[in-house]
Amino acid sequence: MKIDDKLVEHIARLARLSLTGDERTAMVSDLSNILGYIEKLDELDTRDVEPTSHVVGITNVMRDDRPRPSISADEALLNAPDRADNFYRVPKIIE
Protein backbone atom coordinates (compact mmCIF):
# COMPACT_ATOMS: atom_id res chain seq x y z
CA MET A 1 0.00 0.00 0.00
CA LYS A 2 1.31 3.40 -0.99
CA ILE A 3 1.28 6.06 1.73
CA ASP A 4 1.18 9.60 0.38
CA ASP A 5 0.31 13.08 1.62
CA LYS A 6 -3.30 12.69 0.64
CA LEU A 7 -3.82 9.46 2.57
CA VAL A 8 -2.09 10.85 5.69
CA GLU A 9 -4.31 13.90 5.48
CA HIS A 10 -7.43 11.69 5.22
CA ILE A 11 -6.43 9.53 8.20
CA ALA A 12 -5.59 12.63 10.23
CA ARG A 13 -8.99 14.09 9.50
CA LEU A 14 -10.76 10.87 10.56
CA ALA A 15 -8.82 10.96 13.82
CA ARG A 16 -9.53 14.69 14.26
CA LEU A 17 -5.84 15.59 14.14
CA SER A 18 -4.37 18.59 12.39
CA LEU A 19 -0.85 18.16 11.15
CA THR A 20 1.72 20.75 10.03
CA GLY A 21 3.47 20.23 6.70
CA ASP A 22 6.58 18.88 8.45
CA GLU A 23 4.58 16.50 10.61
CA ARG A 24 2.78 15.21 7.56
CA THR A 25 6.01 14.52 5.73
CA ALA A 26 7.37 12.71 8.79
CA MET A 27 4.15 10.64 8.99
CA VAL A 28 4.36 9.63 5.33
CA SER A 29 7.80 8.23 5.93
CA ASP A 30 6.98 6.64 9.33
CA LEU A 31 3.80 4.96 8.17
CA SER A 32 5.49 3.73 4.98
CA ASN A 33 8.23 2.13 7.04
CA ILE A 34 5.75 0.46 9.39
CA LEU A 35 3.62 -0.86 6.56
CA GLY A 36 6.69 -2.03 4.67
CA TYR A 37 7.73 -3.99 7.73
CA ILE A 38 4.31 -5.54 8.13
CA GLU A 39 4.14 -6.40 4.42
CA LYS A 40 6.88 -8.90 5.08
CA LEU A 41 4.06 -11.12 6.38
CA ASP A 42 2.60 -11.29 2.87
CA GLU A 43 5.39 -13.69 2.02
CA LEU A 44 3.76 -16.30 4.23
CA ASP A 45 1.18 -18.67 2.75
CA THR A 46 -1.91 -18.14 4.98
CA ARG A 47 -4.49 -19.87 2.77
CA ASP A 48 -5.34 -22.45 5.43
CA VAL A 49 -5.05 -20.15 8.44
CA GLU A 50 -8.20 -18.84 10.15
CA PRO A 51 -8.06 -15.06 10.63
CA THR A 52 -7.47 -14.19 14.28
CA SER A 53 -9.68 -11.57 15.87
CA HIS A 54 -8.75 -12.37 19.43
CA VAL A 55 -5.53 -13.78 20.82
CA VAL A 56 -6.69 -15.25 24.14
CA GLY A 57 -8.62 -18.41 23.43
CA ILE A 58 -11.66 -17.63 25.57
CA THR A 59 -15.27 -17.11 24.53
CA ASN A 60 -18.63 -16.15 26.08
CA VAL A 61 -17.65 -13.83 28.90
CA MET A 62 -21.00 -12.49 30.10
CA ARG A 63 -22.73 -10.98 33.11
CA ASP A 64 -26.24 -11.33 34.50
CA ASP A 65 -28.78 -8.59 33.83
CA ARG A 66 -28.54 -7.22 37.37
CA PRO A 67 -28.28 -3.48 38.02
CA ARG A 68 -25.24 -2.08 39.76
CA PRO A 69 -24.99 1.43 41.14
CA SER A 70 -24.15 4.12 38.62
CA ILE A 71 -21.98 7.08 39.53
CA SER A 72 -23.58 10.45 40.33
CA ALA A 73 -24.00 13.13 37.70
CA ASP A 74 -21.49 15.31 39.57
CA GLU A 75 -18.92 12.54 39.57
CA ALA A 76 -19.54 11.81 35.90
CA LEU A 77 -19.15 15.46 35.00
CA LEU A 78 -15.89 15.96 36.93
CA ASN A 79 -13.84 15.46 33.78
CA ALA A 80 -16.19 17.32 31.48
CA PRO A 81 -14.59 20.42 29.95
CA ASP A 82 -17.90 22.23 30.33
CA ARG A 83 -21.30 21.58 31.88
CA ALA A 84 -24.75 23.13 32.17
CA ASP A 85 -26.87 21.80 35.02
CA ASN A 86 -26.46 18.03 34.81
CA PHE A 87 -25.61 18.02 31.11
CA TYR A 88 -22.30 17.93 29.28
CA ARG A 89 -22.13 21.15 27.30
CA VAL A 90 -20.53 20.95 23.86
CA PRO A 91 -20.17 23.28 20.89
CA LYS A 92 -23.42 23.35 18.96
CA ILE A 93 -23.92 20.30 16.77
CA ILE A 94 -25.00 21.35 13.31
CA GLU A 95 -26.81 18.71 11.32
Binding site: H54, A73, N86, Y88, P91, K92, I93
Partner: protein, 484 residues
Amino acid sequence: MLTETKIFCGCPTAFGAEPNTQTCPVCIGMPGVLPVLNRRALEFAIRTGLATNCAISTYSRFARKNYFYPDLPKGYQISQYELPICEHGWVDIASEEGGHKRVGITRIHMEEDAGKNIHEEKGPYSLVDFNRTGVPLMEIVSEPDIRTPAEAVEYMKKLRTILRYLGVCDGNMEQGSLRCDANVSVREAGSAGMGVKVEVKNINSFKFVERALAYEIKRQVKTLEEGGALVQETRLFDTQAGVTQSMRTKEEAHDYRYFPDPDLVPLVVDEKWIEEIRASLPELPDIKFKRFVKDYGLPEQDAAMLTEERAMADWFEEAVKAGATPKAASNWMMGELLRLLNKKNLSIEKSPIDPKQLVDILKEIENGTINRTQAKEVFEEMFNREFHRIYDTSGRIEVTLPAPKVAMTARQIIKEKGLVQISDAGELEKTVDEVLSASPDEVNRFKGGEEKLMGFFVGQVMKITRGKANPKLVNELLGKKLST
Protein backbone atom coordinates in the same frame (compact mmCIF):
# COMPACT_ATOMS: atom_id res chain seq x y z
CA MET B 1 -34.37 -4.18 24.33
CA LEU B 2 -36.27 -4.57 27.57
CA THR B 3 -33.27 -5.47 29.70
CA GLU B 4 -32.86 -3.95 33.13
CA THR B 5 -29.26 -2.97 32.58
CA LYS B 6 -27.14 -1.68 29.72
CA ILE B 7 -25.48 -4.00 27.23
CA PHE B 8 -21.92 -3.80 28.59
CA CYS B 9 -22.29 -2.44 32.14
CA GLY B 10 -24.67 -2.62 35.12
CA CYS B 11 -26.23 0.85 34.71
CA PRO B 12 -30.03 0.84 34.63
CA THR B 13 -31.89 1.44 31.36
CA ALA B 14 -35.05 3.08 32.79
CA PHE B 15 -36.47 5.81 30.57
CA GLY B 16 -36.91 9.35 31.86
CA ALA B 17 -34.32 9.53 34.67
CA GLU B 18 -32.54 12.79 35.54
CA PRO B 19 -29.79 13.50 32.95
CA ASN B 20 -26.46 11.74 33.47
CA THR B 21 -27.52 9.82 36.57
CA GLN B 22 -27.39 6.39 34.87
CA THR B 23 -23.78 6.23 33.73
CA CYS B 24 -20.51 4.69 34.87
CA PRO B 25 -16.92 4.64 33.66
CA VAL B 26 -17.72 1.84 31.18
CA CYS B 27 -20.59 3.55 29.35
CA ILE B 28 -19.00 7.00 29.30
CA GLY B 29 -15.85 5.55 27.81
CA MET B 30 -13.23 6.13 30.50
CA PRO B 31 -9.80 4.70 29.66
CA GLY B 32 -8.96 1.26 31.01
CA VAL B 33 -12.49 -0.05 31.51
CA LEU B 34 -13.67 -3.44 30.29
CA PRO B 35 -17.13 -3.97 28.77
CA VAL B 36 -18.84 -7.28 29.66
CA LEU B 37 -21.85 -8.49 27.65
CA ASN B 38 -25.28 -8.67 29.30
CA ARG B 39 -26.36 -12.31 28.84
CA ARG B 40 -30.02 -11.34 28.57
CA ALA B 41 -29.32 -8.99 25.65
CA LEU B 42 -27.85 -11.93 23.75
CA GLU B 43 -30.76 -14.14 24.74
CA PHE B 44 -33.25 -11.50 23.54
CA ALA B 45 -31.47 -11.24 20.20
CA ILE B 46 -31.58 -15.02 19.80
CA ARG B 47 -35.28 -15.08 20.78
CA THR B 48 -36.01 -12.48 18.13
CA GLY B 49 -33.98 -14.36 15.55
CA LEU B 50 -35.85 -17.60 16.22
CA ALA B 51 -39.24 -15.86 16.10
CA THR B 52 -38.37 -14.34 12.72
CA ASN B 53 -37.12 -17.59 11.18
CA CYS B 54 -33.45 -16.60 11.22
CA ALA B 55 -30.44 -18.86 11.39
CA ILE B 56 -28.64 -18.27 14.70
CA SER B 57 -24.90 -17.93 14.28
CA THR B 58 -22.99 -20.34 16.45
CA TYR B 59 -19.94 -18.07 16.16
CA SER B 60 -20.46 -14.34 16.41
CA ARG B 61 -18.52 -11.27 17.53
CA PHE B 62 -18.60 -7.55 18.17
CA ALA B 63 -16.93 -4.85 16.12
CA ARG B 64 -16.08 -1.21 16.62
CA LYS B 65 -17.72 1.28 14.33
CA ASN B 66 -15.62 4.41 14.41
CA TYR B 67 -17.03 7.90 14.15
CA PHE B 68 -16.97 11.09 16.15
CA TYR B 69 -20.13 12.58 17.50
CA PRO B 70 -20.72 14.21 20.90
CA ASP B 71 -23.30 11.60 21.94
CA LEU B 72 -20.75 8.80 21.45
CA PRO B 73 -18.27 9.17 24.30
CA LYS B 74 -15.81 6.47 23.18
CA GLY B 75 -15.45 7.74 19.63
CA TYR B 76 -16.78 4.39 18.42
CA GLN B 77 -19.95 2.37 18.79
CA ILE B 78 -19.75 -1.28 19.73
CA SER B 79 -21.82 -3.09 17.10
CA GLN B 80 -21.64 -6.22 14.99
CA TYR B 81 -20.36 -6.18 11.44
CA GLU B 82 -19.29 -9.49 9.95
CA LEU B 83 -20.70 -12.43 11.89
CA PRO B 84 -23.92 -10.93 13.31
CA ILE B 85 -25.91 -13.08 15.74
CA CYS B 86 -28.87 -13.78 13.36
CA GLU B 87 -29.16 -14.01 9.55
CA HIS B 88 -31.48 -15.04 6.71
CA GLY B 89 -34.94 -14.82 8.31
CA TRP B 90 -38.38 -13.63 7.23
CA VAL B 91 -41.77 -12.42 8.46
CA ASP B 92 -45.12 -12.57 6.71
CA ILE B 93 -47.25 -9.44 6.47
CA ALA B 94 -50.84 -9.00 5.33
CA SER B 95 -50.69 -8.08 1.66
CA GLU B 96 -52.80 -5.38 0.07
CA GLU B 97 -54.28 -7.84 -2.42
CA GLY B 98 -55.29 -10.15 0.41
CA GLY B 99 -53.26 -13.12 1.58
CA HIS B 100 -49.70 -12.79 2.71
CA LYS B 101 -46.45 -11.35 1.55
CA ARG B 102 -43.06 -12.50 2.80
CA VAL B 103 -40.45 -9.90 3.77
CA GLY B 104 -36.92 -11.23 4.08
CA ILE B 105 -34.70 -10.37 7.03
CA THR B 106 -31.07 -9.99 6.09
CA ARG B 107 -29.68 -9.90 9.60
CA ILE B 108 -30.24 -8.96 13.21
CA HIS B 109 -27.32 -7.63 15.16
CA MET B 110 -26.73 -6.29 18.65
CA GLU B 111 -25.27 -2.89 19.35
CA GLU B 112 -25.16 -0.13 21.96
CA ASP B 113 -27.29 2.99 21.76
CA ALA B 114 -25.80 6.49 21.70
CA GLY B 115 -26.62 9.31 24.11
CA LYS B 116 -29.11 12.08 23.57
CA ASN B 117 -28.31 15.55 22.29
CA ILE B 118 -30.44 18.51 23.20
CA HIS B 119 -29.95 21.52 21.00
CA GLU B 120 -30.32 24.87 22.70
CA GLU B 121 -32.75 27.13 20.87
CA LYS B 122 -30.40 30.06 21.21
CA GLY B 123 -26.74 30.11 22.01
CA PRO B 124 -23.78 28.26 20.61
CA TYR B 125 -24.15 25.04 22.64
CA SER B 126 -25.68 21.58 22.58
CA LEU B 127 -26.30 19.57 25.75
CA VAL B 128 -25.53 15.87 26.07
CA ASP B 129 -27.17 13.25 28.31
CA PHE B 130 -25.41 9.86 28.42
CA ASN B 131 -28.17 7.93 30.22
CA ARG B 132 -29.11 6.19 26.96
CA THR B 133 -25.49 5.47 26.02
CA GLY B 134 -24.96 1.72 26.11
CA VAL B 135 -28.63 0.73 26.22
CA PRO B 136 -28.85 -2.52 24.22
CA LEU B 137 -30.31 -2.30 20.71
CA MET B 138 -31.14 -4.83 18.05
CA GLU B 139 -30.86 -3.67 14.48
CA ILE B 140 -33.17 -5.69 12.26
CA VAL B 141 -32.23 -5.27 8.60
CA SER B 142 -34.78 -6.31 6.00
CA GLU B 143 -34.27 -7.38 2.39
CA PRO B 144 -35.42 -4.97 -0.35
CA ASP B 145 -38.81 -6.72 -0.59
CA ILE B 146 -41.11 -3.86 0.47
CA ARG B 147 -42.82 -2.11 -2.45
CA THR B 148 -45.18 0.50 -0.96
CA PRO B 149 -45.38 2.79 2.08
CA ALA B 150 -48.40 0.77 3.27
CA GLU B 151 -46.35 -2.44 3.20
CA ALA B 152 -43.62 -0.70 5.19
CA VAL B 153 -46.18 0.19 7.86
CA GLU B 154 -47.53 -3.39 7.87
CA TYR B 155 -43.99 -4.71 8.24
CA MET B 156 -43.23 -2.33 11.14
CA LYS B 157 -46.47 -3.25 12.88
CA LYS B 158 -45.81 -6.94 12.45
CA LEU B 159 -42.32 -6.61 13.86
CA ARG B 160 -43.67 -4.60 16.78
CA THR B 161 -46.28 -7.27 17.50
CA ILE B 162 -43.65 -10.02 17.45
CA LEU B 163 -41.23 -8.05 19.64
CA ARG B 164 -43.98 -7.36 22.18
CA TYR B 165 -45.09 -11.01 22.20
CA LEU B 166 -41.50 -11.99 22.91
CA GLY B 167 -41.18 -9.39 25.67
CA VAL B 168 -37.89 -8.17 24.23
CA CYS B 169 -39.02 -4.60 23.39
CA ASP B 170 -42.02 -2.50 24.42
CA GLY B 171 -42.32 -1.14 20.87
CA ASN B 172 -42.88 2.41 22.05
CA MET B 173 -41.99 4.65 19.09
CA GLU B 174 -42.55 7.89 21.00
CA GLN B 175 -39.95 6.95 23.60
CA GLY B 176 -37.62 5.72 20.88
CA SER B 177 -37.65 2.05 21.87
CA LEU B 178 -38.67 1.21 18.31
CA ARG B 179 -37.09 3.28 15.55
CA CYS B 180 -36.98 3.05 11.81
CA ASP B 181 -34.51 4.07 9.14
CA ALA B 182 -35.87 3.41 5.66
CA ASN B 183 -33.88 2.93 2.47
CA VAL B 184 -35.95 4.17 -0.44
CA SER B 185 -35.30 3.75 -4.16
CA VAL B 186 -37.44 3.86 -7.28
CA ARG B 187 -37.04 2.21 -10.68
CA GLU B 188 -38.87 2.20 -13.98
CA ALA B 189 -41.76 -0.25 -14.02
CA GLY B 190 -40.60 -3.64 -15.29
CA SER B 191 -36.90 -2.90 -14.99
CA ALA B 192 -34.58 -5.12 -13.01
CA GLY B 193 -32.15 -4.02 -10.32
CA MET B 194 -32.60 -1.22 -7.83
CA GLY B 195 -32.30 2.53 -8.24
CA VAL B 196 -30.08 4.84 -6.19
CA LYS B 197 -31.02 4.41 -2.56
CA VAL B 198 -31.68 7.18 -0.10
CA GLU B 199 -31.77 6.57 3.64
CA VAL B 200 -34.60 8.37 5.44
CA LYS B 201 -34.14 8.93 9.16
CA ASN B 202 -36.16 10.38 12.03
CA ILE B 203 -39.35 8.44 11.42
CA ASN B 204 -40.75 8.07 14.91
CA SER B 205 -44.37 6.97 14.45
CA PHE B 206 -46.34 4.63 12.18
CA LYS B 207 -48.12 7.63 10.71
CA PHE B 208 -44.78 9.20 9.76
CA VAL B 209 -43.48 5.97 8.20
CA GLU B 210 -46.24 6.14 5.62
CA ARG B 211 -45.95 9.90 5.09
CA ALA B 212 -42.17 10.07 4.93
CA LEU B 213 -41.94 7.22 2.42
CA ALA B 214 -44.75 8.52 0.23
CA TYR B 215 -43.06 11.92 0.11
CA GLU B 216 -39.64 10.45 -0.65
CA ILE B 217 -40.97 8.27 -3.48
CA LYS B 218 -42.72 11.27 -5.01
CA ARG B 219 -39.58 13.37 -4.72
CA GLN B 220 -37.42 10.74 -6.41
CA VAL B 221 -39.88 10.17 -9.26
CA LYS B 222 -40.18 13.90 -9.85
CA THR B 223 -36.41 14.38 -9.86
CA LEU B 224 -35.97 11.62 -12.44
CA GLU B 225 -38.87 12.76 -14.61
CA GLU B 226 -37.39 16.23 -14.74
CA GLY B 227 -34.17 14.70 -16.04
CA GLY B 228 -32.29 15.08 -12.77
CA ALA B 229 -30.08 12.55 -11.03
CA LEU B 230 -30.45 11.09 -7.56
CA VAL B 231 -27.55 10.95 -5.15
CA GLN B 232 -27.04 8.33 -2.49
CA GLU B 233 -27.50 10.26 0.74
CA THR B 234 -29.15 10.40 4.13
CA ARG B 235 -32.26 12.53 4.45
CA LEU B 236 -34.09 13.61 7.57
CA PHE B 237 -37.89 13.57 7.73
CA ASP B 238 -39.19 16.95 8.85
CA THR B 239 -42.37 16.03 10.72
CA GLN B 240 -43.66 19.62 10.71
CA ALA B 241 -43.29 20.25 6.99
CA GLY B 242 -43.91 16.62 5.96
CA VAL B 243 -40.83 16.59 3.69
CA THR B 244 -37.42 14.91 3.71
CA GLN B 245 -34.34 17.08 3.80
CA SER B 246 -30.78 16.28 2.89
CA MET B 247 -28.36 15.94 5.84
CA ARG B 248 -25.17 17.58 4.89
CA THR B 249 -22.53 15.08 5.86
CA LYS B 250 -18.80 15.25 5.33
CA GLU B 251 -17.62 13.00 2.53
CA GLU B 252 -15.57 10.69 4.74
CA ALA B 253 -18.35 10.30 7.32
CA HIS B 254 -19.04 6.78 6.07
CA ASP B 255 -15.52 5.56 6.61
CA TYR B 256 -16.39 3.63 9.77
CA ARG B 257 -13.25 1.44 9.73
CA TYR B 258 -14.98 -1.48 11.45
CA PHE B 259 -12.69 -3.92 13.20
CA PRO B 260 -13.26 -6.72 15.74
CA ASP B 261 -13.49 -5.26 19.24
CA PRO B 262 -10.46 -6.55 21.18
CA ASP B 263 -12.21 -5.90 24.54
CA LEU B 264 -14.98 -8.41 23.86
CA VAL B 265 -14.35 -12.09 23.32
CA PRO B 266 -16.19 -14.01 20.58
CA LEU B 267 -19.58 -15.58 21.25
CA VAL B 268 -20.04 -19.28 20.75
CA VAL B 269 -23.72 -20.17 21.03
CA ASP B 270 -24.34 -23.88 21.40
CA GLU B 271 -27.31 -25.81 20.01
CA LYS B 272 -28.49 -26.71 23.49
CA TRP B 273 -29.00 -23.10 24.51
CA ILE B 274 -30.68 -22.27 21.19
CA GLU B 275 -33.10 -25.16 21.70
CA GLU B 276 -33.82 -24.07 25.28
CA ILE B 277 -34.67 -20.59 24.05
CA ARG B 278 -36.78 -22.00 21.22
CA ALA B 279 -38.75 -24.07 23.72
CA SER B 280 -39.42 -20.97 25.82
CA LEU B 281 -40.92 -18.95 22.95
CA PRO B 282 -44.59 -18.02 23.36
CA GLU B 283 -47.16 -18.96 20.74
CA LEU B 284 -46.38 -16.45 18.00
CA PRO B 285 -49.00 -14.14 16.43
CA ASP B 286 -49.29 -15.94 13.06
CA ILE B 287 -49.90 -19.29 14.71
CA LYS B 288 -52.30 -17.81 17.25
CA PHE B 289 -54.18 -16.11 14.42
CA LYS B 290 -54.65 -19.39 12.56
CA ARG B 291 -55.71 -21.16 15.73
CA PHE B 292 -58.27 -18.44 16.55
CA VAL B 293 -59.83 -18.79 13.09
CA LYS B 294 -59.81 -22.57 13.19
CA ASP B 295 -60.66 -23.37 16.80
CA TYR B 296 -63.03 -20.52 17.58
CA GLY B 297 -64.54 -20.09 14.13
CA LEU B 298 -63.76 -16.37 14.20
CA PRO B 299 -63.74 -14.23 11.05
CA GLU B 300 -60.15 -13.40 9.98
CA GLN B 301 -60.64 -9.75 10.81
CA ASP B 302 -61.58 -10.54 14.41
CA ALA B 303 -58.71 -12.99 14.78
CA ALA B 304 -56.26 -10.42 13.39
CA MET B 305 -57.35 -7.75 15.83
CA LEU B 306 -57.42 -10.05 18.83
CA THR B 307 -53.95 -11.46 18.18
CA GLU B 308 -52.23 -8.14 17.55
CA GLU B 309 -51.53 -7.88 21.27
CA ARG B 310 -50.78 -10.93 23.34
CA ALA B 311 -52.67 -9.49 26.34
CA MET B 312 -55.75 -8.99 24.18
CA ALA B 313 -55.62 -12.60 22.96
CA ASP B 314 -55.20 -13.84 26.53
CA TRP B 315 -58.20 -11.80 27.71
CA PHE B 316 -60.28 -13.24 24.91
CA GLU B 317 -59.31 -16.82 25.69
CA GLU B 318 -60.06 -16.35 29.38
CA ALA B 319 -63.51 -15.06 28.49
CA VAL B 320 -64.16 -18.09 26.27
CA LYS B 321 -62.85 -20.41 28.96
CA ALA B 322 -65.23 -18.78 31.44
CA GLY B 323 -68.14 -19.61 29.13
CA ALA B 324 -68.52 -16.84 26.54
CA THR B 325 -69.25 -17.81 22.95
CA PRO B 326 -66.17 -16.75 20.93
CA LYS B 327 -67.95 -14.35 18.58
CA ALA B 328 -69.82 -12.66 21.44
CA ALA B 329 -66.58 -12.20 23.42
CA SER B 330 -64.89 -10.81 20.33
CA ASN B 331 -67.76 -8.40 19.59
CA TRP B 332 -67.88 -7.06 23.13
CA MET B 333 -64.11 -6.66 23.29
CA MET B 334 -63.81 -4.88 19.92
CA GLY B 335 -66.85 -2.77 20.69
CA GLU B 336 -67.65 -1.76 24.25
CA LEU B 337 -64.46 -2.80 26.00
CA LEU B 338 -62.07 -1.06 23.59
CA ARG B 339 -64.28 2.02 23.48
CA LEU B 340 -64.26 2.39 27.25
CA LEU B 341 -60.56 1.53 27.58
CA ASN B 342 -59.68 4.16 24.98
CA LYS B 343 -61.82 6.71 26.78
CA LYS B 344 -59.82 6.15 29.96
CA ASN B 345 -56.58 5.74 28.02
CA LEU B 346 -55.99 2.28 29.47
CA SER B 347 -54.33 -0.75 27.94
CA ILE B 348 -56.07 -4.11 28.05
CA GLU B 349 -53.68 -5.18 30.84
CA LYS B 350 -55.16 -2.40 32.97
CA SER B 351 -58.79 -3.21 32.18
CA PRO B 352 -60.95 -2.64 35.29
CA ILE B 353 -63.30 -5.40 34.10
CA ASP B 354 -61.98 -8.93 33.91
CA PRO B 355 -63.14 -11.62 31.46
CA LYS B 356 -65.27 -13.35 34.08
CA GLN B 357 -67.28 -10.18 34.63
CA LEU B 358 -68.02 -9.94 30.91
CA VAL B 359 -69.22 -13.54 30.94
CA ASP B 360 -71.35 -12.71 33.98
CA ILE B 361 -73.14 -10.04 31.91
CA LEU B 362 -73.45 -12.28 28.84
CA LYS B 363 -75.19 -14.89 30.99
CA GLU B 364 -77.80 -12.34 32.03
CA ILE B 365 -78.56 -11.75 28.33
CA GLU B 366 -78.75 -15.48 27.67
CA ASN B 367 -81.15 -16.19 30.52
CA GLY B 368 -83.37 -13.34 29.38
CA THR B 369 -82.93 -11.04 32.40
CA ILE B 370 -81.67 -8.16 30.27
CA ASN B 371 -81.51 -7.38 26.57
CA ARG B 372 -78.45 -6.26 24.60
CA THR B 373 -79.12 -2.55 25.04
CA GLN B 374 -79.47 -2.97 28.77
CA ALA B 375 -76.37 -5.14 28.83
CA LYS B 376 -74.39 -2.26 27.35
CA GLU B 377 -75.61 -0.05 30.14
CA VAL B 378 -74.65 -2.66 32.73
CA PHE B 379 -71.25 -3.08 31.10
CA GLU B 380 -70.47 0.64 31.13
CA GLU B 381 -71.70 1.05 34.69
CA MET B 382 -69.64 -1.93 35.82
CA PHE B 383 -66.60 -0.64 33.96
CA ASN B 384 -66.84 2.79 35.55
CA ARG B 385 -67.50 1.52 39.04
CA GLU B 386 -64.67 -0.98 38.85
CA PHE B 387 -62.40 1.73 37.50
CA HIS B 388 -63.44 3.89 40.41
CA ARG B 389 -62.78 1.07 42.84
CA ILE B 390 -59.41 0.06 41.45
CA TYR B 391 -57.83 3.27 40.22
CA ASP B 392 -59.60 6.28 41.58
CA THR B 393 -61.14 6.83 44.97
CA SER B 394 -61.29 10.60 44.67
CA GLY B 395 -64.79 10.49 43.23
CA ARG B 396 -63.76 12.46 40.15
CA ILE B 397 -65.29 10.09 37.66
CA GLU B 398 -68.95 9.93 36.89
CA VAL B 399 -70.76 6.85 38.05
CA THR B 400 -74.39 6.70 38.96
CA LEU B 401 -73.81 4.50 41.99
CA PRO B 402 -71.00 4.53 44.59
CA ALA B 403 -67.71 2.69 44.13
CA PRO B 404 -68.03 -0.88 45.33
CA LYS B 405 -65.66 -2.38 47.91
CA VAL B 406 -65.40 -5.72 46.14
CA ALA B 407 -65.70 -6.79 42.49
CA MET B 408 -69.14 -6.16 41.03
CA THR B 409 -71.52 -8.74 39.68
CA ALA B 410 -73.91 -8.02 36.85
CA ARG B 411 -76.81 -9.00 39.04
CA GLN B 412 -76.02 -6.23 41.57
CA ILE B 413 -76.05 -3.51 38.92
CA ILE B 414 -79.18 -4.87 37.26
CA LYS B 415 -80.92 -4.79 40.61
CA GLU B 416 -79.67 -1.39 41.69
CA LYS B 417 -80.53 0.24 38.37
CA GLY B 418 -83.82 -1.59 37.96
CA LEU B 419 -82.77 -2.85 34.56
CA VAL B 420 -84.62 -6.16 34.44
CA GLN B 421 -86.20 -6.60 31.02
CA ILE B 422 -89.91 -7.07 30.63
CA SER B 423 -90.54 -10.67 29.69
CA ASP B 424 -94.10 -10.79 30.96
CA ALA B 425 -96.16 -11.61 27.85
CA GLY B 426 -99.35 -10.15 29.32
CA GLU B 427 -97.74 -6.82 30.09
CA LEU B 428 -95.99 -6.63 26.72
CA GLU B 429 -99.14 -7.58 24.83
CA LYS B 430 -100.82 -4.45 26.17
CA THR B 431 -97.99 -2.29 24.89
CA VAL B 432 -98.01 -4.04 21.52
CA ASP B 433 -101.77 -3.47 21.15
CA GLU B 434 -101.26 0.16 22.10
CA VAL B 435 -98.63 0.62 19.39
CA LEU B 436 -100.68 -1.14 16.70
CA SER B 437 -103.87 0.80 17.35
CA ALA B 438 -101.92 4.10 17.31
CA SER B 439 -100.48 3.33 13.87
CA PRO B 440 -103.27 2.06 11.59
CA ASP B 441 -101.52 3.34 8.44
CA GLU B 442 -98.35 1.40 9.14
CA VAL B 443 -100.36 -1.70 9.99
CA ASN B 444 -102.11 -1.56 6.61
CA ARG B 445 -98.89 -0.98 4.74
CA PHE B 446 -97.27 -3.89 6.58
CA LYS B 447 -100.14 -6.17 5.66
CA GLY B 448 -99.75 -4.91 2.08
CA GLY B 449 -96.22 -6.34 2.01
CA GLU B 450 -94.00 -3.64 3.49
CA GLU B 451 -92.35 -6.05 5.88
CA LYS B 452 -89.50 -3.81 6.88
CA LEU B 453 -92.02 -1.85 8.98
CA MET B 454 -91.50 -4.57 11.60
CA GLY B 455 -88.50 -2.56 12.78
CA PHE B 456 -90.71 0.47 13.27
CA PHE B 457 -93.17 -1.45 15.48
CA VAL B 458 -90.37 -2.97 17.57
CA GLY B 459 -88.86 0.51 17.94
CA GLN B 460 -92.16 1.94 19.17
CA VAL B 461 -92.53 -0.80 21.78
CA MET B 462 -88.96 -0.23 22.95
CA LYS B 463 -89.60 3.49 23.17
CA ILE B 464 -92.63 3.04 25.39
CA THR B 465 -90.89 0.47 27.62
CA ARG B 466 -87.72 2.60 27.68
CA GLY B 467 -85.66 -0.19 26.17
CA LYS B 468 -86.72 -2.76 28.75
CA ALA B 469 -88.83 -5.03 26.56
CA ASN B 470 -87.55 -8.49 25.73
CA PRO B 471 -86.98 -8.05 21.98
CA LYS B 472 -87.52 -11.73 21.19
CA LEU B 473 -90.90 -11.69 22.85
CA VAL B 474 -91.86 -8.40 21.21
CA ASN B 475 -91.06 -9.88 17.81
CA GLU B 476 -93.15 -12.94 18.53
CA LEU B 477 -96.13 -10.93 19.76
CA LEU B 478 -96.00 -8.54 16.81
CA GLY B 479 -95.70 -11.42 14.38
CA LYS B 480 -98.74 -13.10 15.83
CA LYS B 481 -100.87 -9.93 15.91
CA LEU B 482 -99.94 -8.77 12.43
CA SER B 483 -100.57 -12.08 10.73
CA THR B 484 -104.24 -12.14 11.76
